[in-house]
Amino acid sequence: MTSGFTPPLIEFHKVAKVYGQGTAAMRALDGVDLSVRAGEFVAMMGPSGSGKSTCLNILGCLDTPSEGSYHFEDVPVERLSRDQRALLRRHFIGFIFQGFNLLNRTSALENVELPLIYRKVPARVRHEKALEALTAVGLANWAHHAPGELSGGQQQRVAIARALVGQPRVLLADEPTGNLDSVRSREIAAMLREFNRQKGITIVMVTHEPEMAAYADRQIHFQDGTITMDKQNGETP
């Protein structure tokens, strides 16, 4: 870092997402400009239907913008095919979800190994890395338990281990504490901040709880498909 300038990891230019056609058309996102630099911890807030989840889906290359352009590390995502976007996710993006989305009746370790299987990592290396990732979230002793045997907080930690095991450029979290009580929620949020501070992992988190958003460095508020506020935490808008 020579001049303190970090090139944006994620860059939205007038991104819009339109559902339906003609008069029934619904603009879930309406001309959003947004950039996220590597190492940031961003919280996206807003009421339901405000466009924050749509924004996250596009960020995660699960969805494509109807209008505008999206560059992920200078790659124009809107021009990629479905498979190319899948490869982008495989190598550069980690996800955690409100519902954890772990595979049932599959051990925590195997769940964490999943992204590495798709990256064709040999089995032995896979085991080591997955165990390492589980250790990092404090679940080394639970490696061989199925998700059903773990508490919600533990399940979300397994999901975090799974998202981070492949060392992605960005971790996208969709209401990661939505299904947890306040104690577990704070644990998860603290853990995300810890990873962000210690390992420099870029995190974009959708939440509707101001308490969770407070753990982030930057808050972006959505309303009716547009950004109404974008501020660093500690600033007054």
Binding site: G60, A86, H91, G99, N101, P115, I117, K120
Partner: protein, 403 residues
């Protein structure tokens, strides 16, 4: 990666043993049925072939035509042959081992209080040569007995049992109708013929005796011709036909009023029948394979729906469409081939038991086992494709939120 997919598939299958077993039941039954049918069918064919071979394979059967239409539509029978016809064939056609003129009648055979209705064949010693039929005890006809038409007889095993039981019949006298015959020998047991008749239920007497004393004519009703090994039966058949046309004075524009039949043709006809029957039954069994395939498709579709969130998660993690397709395709192929293997094992067991109980040889056909295995794999592939494609094309966003 394919190995990983295979491991994943068999893990998924083992997670729900009951459902997986029910899923493959159709395939199991279908394959087992096909294997059983084909194996039993081959056994039946082998049995028919060996039974008919016991009648003598290199044998031609010369018979007068029957059921021909005479003037005014009346059914007439062509003239019978004569002993001279048989001699002419023996002397003029090359490559023959023996020619046996035969005539037959049916009669009550009586010995003491025992009474048995049986068939009487009048012939010469050549008959035993053509039929490759050895004596159990006693002797054949002497030349004098044949020529003079003496009242002597040889008994088939069934007649011997019915008339004499355990006692020795040699030298004893039996009555056929009103005429007494001296028993000079017994024939070895031949068992049932391929047509299901008892070949041992007969009494053999000299042809001349039968003609004169029972039938009261000089007719020879059929001639059995044994062709030498390595001689083409079709050529011999042609020669006999030419000779008979000449002797029976058939004009060149008239059809034959007799037939010369090759026992090989009869074998072909009969085995043809069993083959067709086997093919039909197998086709019916094959339908259950199809139904089994639909069962697999049904369960795979349910499974895809149930695992929508899993698929969504895999897609989000970066699984390619073709990788998800492969996952489900491999799963259904593993299921169906596993069903195929169980079906093959079951089918072979059932065929083994079946062949034991219906008394046909167990004929193992590796071809049909391999074909069933491949076919069950194919069923998995064909019927697994639609569910697998459905999984691969899911929209990841909707799949992730699916409850």
């Amino acid at each position: 990666m394919l190995w990983e997919t295979f491991l994943l598939a068999q893990r998924t299958i083992r997670r729900n043993v009951l459902r997986s077993s029910l899923t493959i039941l159709g395939i199991v039954i279908g394959v087992a049925a096909v294997i059983t049918m084909v194996t039993l069918g081959s056994g039946a064919t082998a049995k028919v072939t060996s039974d008919i071979a016991s009648l003598g394979t290199n044998t031609l059967h010369v018979r007068p035509g029957q059921g021909m239409r005479g003037p005014g539509g009346a059914r007439t029978s062509a003239d019978a042959f004569t002993v001279e016809d048989a001699e002419a064939i023996r002397n003029n056609v090359a490559g023959l081992v023996a020619v046996a003129p035969t005539a037959s009648a049916s009669s009550q055979a009586i010995h003491g209080s025992a009474n048995w209705s049986t068939a009487i064949t009048g012939t010469t010693n050549a008959f035993f040569q053509v039929k490759d039929w050895a004596l159990a005890r006693g002797r054949l006809f002497s030349e004098g007995e044949t020529k003079a038409g003496k009242s002597v007889c040889l008994l088939g095993q069934t007649v011997r049992k019915e008339l004499f039981g355990e006692a020795s019949p040699l030298g004893q006298t039996i009555r056929l109708g009103k005429i007494s015959f001296k028993v000079i020998g017994t024939l070895q047991e031949k068992g049932q013929s391929g047509f299901g008749t008892d070949q041992d239920d007969l009494v053999v007497i000299p042809l001349r005796t039968l003609q004169r004393r029972i039938n009261g004519n000089t007719d020879v009703q059929s001639m059995l011709v044994a062709v030498g090994d390595g001689v083409a039966t079709t050529a011999v058949q042609g020669h006999i036909e030419d000779l008979m046309r000449e002797r029976r004075k058939i004009r060149s524009d008239q059809d034959d009023d007799f037939h010369v039949r090759d026992m090989k043709e009869i074998i072909d006809t009969l085995t043809g029948t069993t083959t067709v029957l086997t093919a039909l039954l197998s086709a019916v069994a094959g339908v259950s394979l199809l139904v089994g395939g639909i069962g697999i498709m049904n369960i795979m579709l349910v499974s895809v729906t149930e695992r929508t969130r899993e698929i969504g998660t895999r897609l989000a993690i970066g699984a390619l469409e073709r990788e998800v397709l492969m996952q489900f395709l491999v799963e259904s192929v593993v299921l169906s081939t596993f069903g195929g293997m169980i079906g093959i094992a079951l089918g072979l067991c059932a065929a083994g038991l079946g062949s034991y109980f219906i008394g046909v040889p167990f004929v193992f056909k590796p071809g049909i086992v391999a074909a069933s295995f491949l076919f069950s794999a194919m069923v998995g592939m064909v019927f697994g494709y639609v569910p697998a494609r459905k999984a691969a094309r899911l929209n990841p966003i909707e799949a992730l939120r699916y409850e």
